[in-house]
């Protein structure tokens, strides 16, 4: 067995040292009823590297690979080109096989990287401080709501109707158990988000209002009035971003007055991976809120010789010190994904991020114009970054998506899948365009969409 270095001779010698006759003597504390008499039945025995690879490749071959077809899916997970050096760096054993940096003298690599990551995220979001990452955007969104309830000592959160429905579901699920009140809504299917309606829902009991930017339908709008309305009632503004590349083109949430900014960092460095592992980003605009933040924080300090170094800090917020009084039960972060994000962001830099964002937006505008020409199709959005909503004139988007997938085109995300039971959204299709999309891909999508709509009409 290739991962087990002990030989039988070693085992015999070690048992002798221990004073045990057989290895089963080491399991004497297991009650009789629970002891197994051999390898667990119904599972295969060990296999060679070649055999395992064959098995796994067969499974992989049953999936339609995004990079091999015209591909337009988004809705919180975006396909971007990841430079080759990102993967070689995250596969270095010193990063890949390290643990949480609890022994900082021999973990400065991870710690300095996290300090750089925190700085990049804070600047991207227009905030003062970011943490060392959380599981993903949806769990970060819940943590933001929980933090807002701690800061304001209020228990009501107002969710925008255009918040990613999975994120809203996570928040509602968690709140059921904590006793917080969540006021959610359905998205208004309008060219621009209904911010007036949202602001009208903020009251004196509101801990926070949660708005996605760009929102689930791809729309963008100035959130400054929402920040003002929230602050006027003593509430916090939580802004959720699922596409960090957008912030290379548009104003940051911090600049518009957001108090807590959270999001999904998967777009940079991490890849699609069928939904995980991803990268939860979490930042606060005002440094006074730092001690209410969840998750790990890396801070600068000096060593005994006066050299600059980094450590995990403010851990009195965390479960291993505070136990049942911790700000969150979170233990792990998403370290290796944070490294991937940071390396990708370092390669891009300010200039690369702006160019990448501009290229995404250029192609998205091109796609929106071309798709608007498909008979029966209408573009809902007036403004968008790299994702927009198509109304398919009464055709069920889900069937059209499946039909196109059968013909090798991954044409978008059907909003009916995300909003089951909302009739108006059954005919809406969310289309994302990135720098990986070619003009040919857009043409293929336009043609296939036209064909599918015609077919479904028959």
């Amino acid at each position: 067995m290739r991962y087990l270095p002990l030989t039988d001779t070693d085992r015999t010698a070690m048992l002798a040292k221990i004073g045990a006759a057989t290895v089963d003597d080491l399991f004497v504390d297991v009650p009789e009823i629970a002891r197994l008499d051999g390898p667990i039945r119904d599972l295969p025995m060990h296999a060679s590297e070649m055999a395992v690879e064959r098995h796994m490749k067969k499974l992989a071959a049953k999936n339609l690979v995004a990079g091999e077809v015209p591909f337009f899916l988004g809705a919180g997970a975006y396909r971007h080109h990841v430079p080759a050096s990102v993967d070689t760096i995250i596969q270095r054993g010193e990063f890949l096989t390290a643990y949480t940096p609890y022994q900082p003298e021999i973990a400065q690599g991870t710690l300095q990287m996290l300090f750089e990551f925190q700085t990049q995220v804070a600047r991207l979001y227009g905030c003062a401080v970011a943490n060392a990452s959380l599981y993903d955007g949806s769990t970060a969104c819940w943590e933001a709501v929980a933090m807002a309830t701690r800061v304001t000592r209020r228990k009501r959160a107002v969710l925008s109707g255009a918040l990613h429905p999975h994120y809203a579901e996570v928040v509602k699920t968690m709140a059921k158990f904590t006793g917080d009140e969540i006021a959610d809504a359905q998205p208004a299917i309008t060219a621009e988000p209904d911010l007036d309606g949202l602001m009208a829902r903020i009251d004196e009991d509101t801990a926070c209002v949660v708005v996605q930017y760009p929102d689930i339908l791809g729309r963008i709008s100035d959130l400054t009035p929402v920040a003002e309305a929230a602050h006027a009632k003593g509430a916090l503004l939580v802004v959720v971003n699922t596409e960090p590349v957008a912030l290379g083109s548009i104003k940051s949430p911090g600049e518009m007055g957001a108090d807590i900014v959270v999001g999904e960092g998967q777009s940079l460095g991490v890849g699609l991976q069928f939904g995980g592992p991803y990268l939860g980003l979490f930042a606060v605009r005002d440094p006074k809120h730092v001690r209410q933040m969840p998750g790990r924080l890396c801070g600068e300090t000096t060593d005994a010789e006066g050299k600059r170094g980094f450590v995990l800090t403010l851990s009195t917020r965390e479960q291993h010190i505070r136990r049942e009084k911790a700000t969150s039960n979170i233990c792990t972060n998403s370290g290796l994904c944070a490294l991937a994000f940071t390396v990708h962001m370092t390669l891009l830099g300010e200039r690369g991020l702006r160019e990448l964002a501009a290229e995404n937006h250029r192609l998205a505008c091109l796609a929106a114009d071309r798709l608007a020409k498909v008979p029966g199709v209408e573009v809902l959005n007036t403004a968008f970054f790299n994702e927009f909503t198509l109304m398919l004139g009464g055709k069920p988007a889900r069937e059209i998506i499946r039909d196109m997938a059968d013909r090798g085109v991954l044409g978008g995300v059907s909003l009916g899948r995300l909003y089951p039971g909302v009739a108006a959204l059954e005919h809406a299709l969310l289309v994302a365009v990135t720098e990986t999309t070619t003009e040919d891909d857009i043409e293929v999508l336009a043609r296939e969409l036209e064909a599918s709509i015609k077919e479904s009409a028959q």
Binding site: H46, G76, P83, F95, Y99, E116, Y135, R417
Partner: protein
């Protein structure tokens, strides 16, 4: 440079008695292969990029609702060669399993097979969108289903929730299922019992779900006090959370009796499966009366720790809790087609307590863990547990003559050996031994956990170490411990040879500097 110690112990290389071998200060601060590296923000430039993209056309029309960015973000870039060098140099200031023995108790730092990495990067897994139409992702759904099948069979449990993102998220899943199950029968309860020796996530999780946490005492032999626990059971107790094997490295031999008593009192049994690696293939937790148990794929099933995540924490569930599992879950229809049960499947979702995360869980970890399971098979996994336990007992018996081992008389340990600092002299502590081991080229063991032992040192060798590697560690560990027993002052300044000396954590917390300024 300060003289490293005033004791009898002599570091071989840096300072000799006459100070001759201390070596000159270097201009750069580097010491040959030990390289200093500035922060990205000190070397990067705003106008530099390592990615070739079309330049921004400032005249191109936009549809950005007047929100086009006018101010710079304050980010900096590096070209590819600079980027690779920057992060490669940083990587060399890290200790990892690939470099050496990493006996971090309870964290299970076993070898991370490279086949796992290769498989996870197949485009058929890595380049697949979570919301692809289900007819286009049958292989991905099959991986989830197949891995879930392995987990159920290995644990002897009927169901599994795959979406939790890490161990603590899995704990939360289990406790929320327990709360949902009680509430469904109109029996809301208030208390969760947690042993004193539990990991901090256990009380934090129970508190999150609005339970009051009460400690269960331990016996002098390091196990749950069964009588005290039974005496506390009653109609207000929703669940007990017990780690088995426990954080003292012992098997809870009365687990079945505890589980029966808890069930009798209408409660549920949550087992923290952080230490499942000690018993995988040897014992099925389902046979011990468990209702819910999370499994850290990054511990037992070898997915990399990555400097602190990502983890993955699927939760196996009993028949009683299975209906409350979070969305989504994978099912197979009569025609053999896999499908996801999500919010829209109103009938099939049943009393599910809701959703814990967007999408379907840590797919990238699922492919790695399944690769590992297939590699080992049922026979190999049994051997994994046996070798892990053998290695830990070997360390326990090789150290107990000089190092306080509070539970050495409580029977064999499981996958980890627990020691305390009772006999150290001269004001030396566990921390000093840990830092001394760094100089010897080891990552220290887990220190000051569990809290029930003074100056705890929890040593977990795992099964992927050779006897030679363990013997060498024992020699080094004994040498450092002997210095602590002798009150060697020099140990208080260790480490001497790491990229950094001891770091001032108090100053870091007093005036937090959490981002680069400038």
């Amino acid at each position: 440079m300060n003289a490293p110690n005033q004791s009898g112990w002599k570091p071989a290389m840096i300072v000799s008695e006459d100070g001759m071998h201390s070596g000159p200060q270097t201009t750069t601060g580097n010491r040959a292969l030990m390289l200093e590296e500035p922060l990205l923000f000190e070397i990067g430039r705003a106008e530099v990029t390592g990615v070739d993209l079309p330049p921004v056309d400032v005249n191109a029309p936009t549809r950005l609702a007047g929100l086009a960015r006018s101010e710079p973000l304050g980010l900096v870039g590096l070209t590819e060669p600079e980027t690779v060098r920057h992060y490669t140099r940083l990587s060399r200031q890290n200790y990892g399993i690939d470099l050496g023995f990493f006996p971090l108790g309870s964290c299970t730092m076993k070898h991370n097979p490279r086949l796992n990495e290769k498989i996870a990067r197949l485009p058929g897994f890595a380049d697949v969108h979570p919301l692809s139409p289900q007819n286009a992702v049958q292989g991905a759904l099959e991986v989830i289903s197949e891995l879930g099948g392995w987990l159920c069979t290995l644990t002897g449990m009927p169901a599994v929730a795959m979406s939790p993102k890490a161990g603590a998220h899995g704990e939360l899943c289990g406790i929320l299922a327990i709360r949902a199950a009680h509430e469904a029968r109109g029996d809301a309860r208030e208390v969760v019992l947690v042993p004193e020796s539990a990991h901090g996530t256990n009380p934090a999780t129970a508190a999150f779900a609005n339970y009051r946490v009460e400690d269960i005492p331990a016996t002098p032999e390091g196990r749950v006090d069964v009588e005290a626990l039974k005496a506390r059971l009653g109609p207000d107790v929703a669940a007990v959370m017990i780690t088995n094997p426990n954080t003292c490295g012992l098997f809870e031999k009365d687990f079945r009796e505890i589980a029966d008593a808890v069930h009798e009192a209408g409660g549920y049994v949550y087992c923290d499966g952080a230490n499942f690696n000690a018993i995988v293939g040897k014992v099925r937790p389902g046979d011990l009366g468990v209702d819910a148990m999370h499994i850290n794929l990054h511990k037992t099933f070898s997915t990399p720790h990555g400097g602190g995540g990502p983890g993955s924490g699927p939760v196996v569930l009993s028949e009683a809790l299975a209906p409350f599992a979070p969305l989504p879950f994978v099912r197979k229809d009569d025609a053999g087609t896999f499908y996801l049960v999500e919010e829209e499947n109103r009938e099939e979702r049943g009393p599910s307590f809701g959703r814990m995360t967007a999408f379907h869980g840590q797919m990238g970890m699922f492919t790695r863990a399944l690769t590992y399971m297939l590699s080992h098979g049922a026979d190999g996994l049994k051997q994994v547990a046996e070798d892990a336990v053998l290695n830990a007992n070997y360390i326990l018996r090789s150290m107990e003559d000089i190092l306080h081992a509070p539970f050495a008389g409580s029977g064999p340990c499981m996958h980890e050996a627990l020691f305390g600092d009772k006999d150290f002299t001269g004001g030396l502590s566990t921390l000093d031994v840990a830092k001394g081991l760094i100089d010897e080229g080891y990552h220290p063991m887990t220190v000051y956990f569990p809290l029930v032992v003074h100056g705890a040192m929890l040593v977990e060798p795992t099964e992927t170490e050779s006897k030679a590697a363990i013997d060498q560690f024992i020699t080094a560990f004994r040498a450092v411990v002997e210095r602590a027993l002798a009150g060697d002052e020099g140990l208080k300044q260790a480490p001497y040879y790491a990229p950094r000396r001891r770091l001032d954590e108090t100053a870091a917390a007093r005036k937090p500097k959490l981002a680069f300024e400038g």
